[in-house]
Every structure is written in structure tokens, then in C-alpha cells.
Symmetry: C2
Subunit: 234 residues, 2 copies
């Protein structure tokens, strides 16, 4: 018994086995990650099946387990793939800003240095980055394990921002700074998710994918917010 399929001794069978090197357009692994990224972002971890991912990526389900061992590890791989890139972007951006301004850093400048790398990728990075950020937004507001994952990956970048702002707002209390960051984080998260909510709410006056409209407003809004919260206690 077993799986001895009475298959192709007759020359050309279905495309089983390792593919010819030049016959492949991309990497199957990358295709899996791309599809998984899109689906996880749209429906969450539990809303996606590995069969669905496999089918959309035109591979067999077993290949997913071959590369990633389990569904959970596939998810982690998706989350990690772009995390380092964007983290380095942001740290570099803030380093450059500080090097340029010395201790004449401003709240606006710090927030812009923090936000711009993300918004730039969101605007110009193509569908992959858009899906990735939607996923980050989803994870960030997921009670169960969302908080931990975000902490592990993004805390260093955030502390860098808070240090910068603290220098621009001497005397600000830690509590005020962290609460303010939390509000900024929520605004950013919702914008990254691009749920189309603002489109409907505004009946077309605003479009959630209009990054050039979003960016200056978010910077102005957050900077004013930080100042208002952090200054009255100083």
C-alpha cells in the first residue's frame, strides 16, 4: 500500500520534484511570504489557513511546512522579514537628524524623523510594504500576544524617539512622554491599517492612502499634542 502512485513512467508527468533553476520566476519561499503577508494583514492569524496561502502562492501545503515548520513560524517569518529594514531606516533617520541639529532638536523634527521612513515606504514601497504595515497595525491592537511581539521588535526605536523628544522638551515627565507616545502610536497604527474608514466617514474628502496629505498633518498634530501634554507640568 502506501503512496506508490502508479504514476508517470511514461516520460513527462506532472511537475513534481525540484524545478529547473532557470524555469523559476522568483523564489517559492518569497512567494509564500508575500501571499501570507497579504492574507495575515487582511484577516489576522486565525483567519487564514495554510491551504489558502499555499493555493494562492501556487505551491503545495507541505512546502510551507518544509520552509517554516509551522503556521505560527510562518507568521513570525512574515513579521520579521521587513522589521529589521524599517528599524534601521528609522534609527538612521533619527541619528542623522540629531547629528544635524545637535541639541537644538525640535519636537516636530524628531517626530518627522521617526515617522518619515515608515510613511515613505508606505507611499512608495509597493504592495508588499503596504500589506506589512497593515499587519503591524493589526498586531499592535491585538490584545492577546500583540503587545509582546511589538515590544520585542520595536521598543528600541521608540525609546530613541522618546529620548529625542525629551531633549526638545526639558523637564517633561516620563509619564507624560509615554502617554503622549501612546497617542501617537495609536494614530500611526490606524493610519497604517488603511481600513478605508476615513474614506467612508468623510464621504471621499479624505483618502486613507493619501500619504502626502497625511504626513504633515500627523506631524503637526502629534507635535502639538506632545507639547500640550508635556509642558503644563514643567
Amino acid at each position: 500500500m502506501g503512496a506508490s502512485a502508479g504514476s508517470a513512467k511514461t516520460g513527462r508527468s506532472a511537475k513534481v520534484g525540484r524545478p529547473a533553476k532557470d524555469s523559476r520566476e522568483k523564489d517559492a519561499r518569497e512567494a509564500i511570504l508575500d501571499v501570507a503577508e497579504e492574507r495575515f494583514a487582511k484577516h489576522g492569524f486565525h483567519g487564514v489557513t495554510v491551504r489558502e496561502v499555499a493555493s494562492a502562492a501556487h505551491v503545495n501545503t507541505a512546502l510551507i511546512h518544509y520552509y517554516f515548520n509551522s503556521k505560527k513560524e510562518l507568521f513570525d517569518a512574515v513579521f520579521m522579514r521587513r522589521a529589521e529594514t524599517i528599524n534601521r531606516d528609522r534609527l538612521d533617520s533619527m541619528d542623522a537628524y540629531e547629528a544635524r541639529l545637535g541639541d537644538r532638536v525640535s519636537v516636530e523634527g524628531a517626530i518627522e524623523a521617526f515617522l518619515h521612513p515608515v510613511l515613505k515606504r508606505l507611499h512608495e514601497g509597493g504592495e508588499g510594504w503596504r500589506n506589512y504595515f497593515a499587519l503591524v497595525g493589526l498586531v499592535n491592537s491585538t490584545t492577546a500576544w500583540g503587545g509582546e511581539v511589538m515590544t520585542r521588535y520595536f521598543d528600541p526605536v521608540i525609546h530613541r524617539l522618546i529620548d529625542l523628544i525629551a531633549r526638545a522638551l526639558p523637564g517633561a515627565s516620563k509619564q507624560d512622554l509615554y502617554w503622549s507616545y501612546n497617542f501617537l502610536s495609536g494614530s500611526l497604527t490606524l493610519s497604517l491599517a488603511e481600513t478605508g474608514r476615513i474614506d467612508r466617514l468623510s464621504e471621499g474628502v479624505c483618502r486613507s492612502d493619501d500619504i502626502p496629505a497625511l504626513e504633515p498633518r500627523m506631524i503637526a498634530y502629534a507635535a502639538a499634542g506632545f507639547r500640550s501634554v508635556c509642558v503644563r507640568s514643567a
Copy 2:
């Protein structure tokens, strides 16, 4: 054949059948909604099984379908149960504020009237309300169908807020107002989710369930943000 279980002709069996109207502590239906609310908020729609809900509510799975027809309709019932209460709370709050201030409304006052009913329930409403708001936060940043659901239920309240703020900031453009609201919405959503993120990030300096610390800061932050975004164009 069928299910002819050789059961209790011996007098007192398990508590099967229609319960005495006054003998019930609560309603089985309510128990189901409470459990479902908690689970959906924590794990999302797809992360919960009806068996799990039934078991935690100490009822049979079929009872859930008896009351709610399907898992999806159970979810909708959970979402609807408190929506009307909180909507009326907020509309009343804003009406009262406007009646009191006439056209001397302020941005801070409008935002406080909008936020306070929610934060009060979050603070004093018990576990049920806490779970409910976490669910709202989750739905709000869920790309797939989150936006639509939110639109249907919460748009009237939001338009009421925007009208109030527009009166406090004459000359503000619709676009600026809607973008600003979006930022406020993100801040609120993340705070409602109470993921514990800020607790870890601040290493205990802030606690996500510390509503008395959150409320004045969120009002100050949002009001300053609105003003900053909406004024420079006027």
C-alpha cells in the same frame, strides 16, 4: 435508531428544559454574550470556536445556534448589545455640553464631551464594558470588514463631534477636521484595546488601565492636535 438515550425516568435529572422564570440567576443568553464578548475581544472572530464559548458559558453548543443562528450573528449580537447604550451616552453628553455653552464651545470641551462617556464606562463599567471596548478597538483596526461595521454604528456620533469642533474652529477645512479626527480615533482605539503595551514600554511608569491618568492627557493632546492642524489653513 436516533438518540433515544436511556435517561432519567428516575425523577430528578440534570437541569434540562425550560427554566422557571424567576429561578434563573441571569439569562443563559446573557451568559453566552458575556463569554463571547470576552473571547472575541481577546482572540478575534476567527480565534474563537462556538464550542469554546458554549463550554465557558456552561451551555450546549446547539443553544448558541438556537439563540443566534450562526457564529457570525452571535458576533453581531455582541457588538450591538452595548452599541446603542454608549451611542446615546455620547450624544447626550455632547448635546448637554452644547446646550450649556451655546456657541462658546471649545475644542477641549467638545472632545471631553465625546470621550468622557466612553472612558467612564471603561473605568467604572466593569469587566463587560472593558471587554467590549477592547473588541471595538480590535474591529476598528481590522482591514477586512472592520471599517464597515464601525461606519454603520458609530458615524452619527462622530459627525456630531466634528460639527461641534467645527463651530469652535471656524474656517477649518473639512479635510483637516477629518484627518484630525482620524488621529484622535487611533489614539482612543489603542487605549481601549488595553494591550498592556504602554506598561511594558514604560517599564511600569504608565499603566494602560489608569484611566484617571489617561483622560486629561488624551483631551489635552487631541485638542492641541486639532488646533494645530486646523488653524494654519484658516
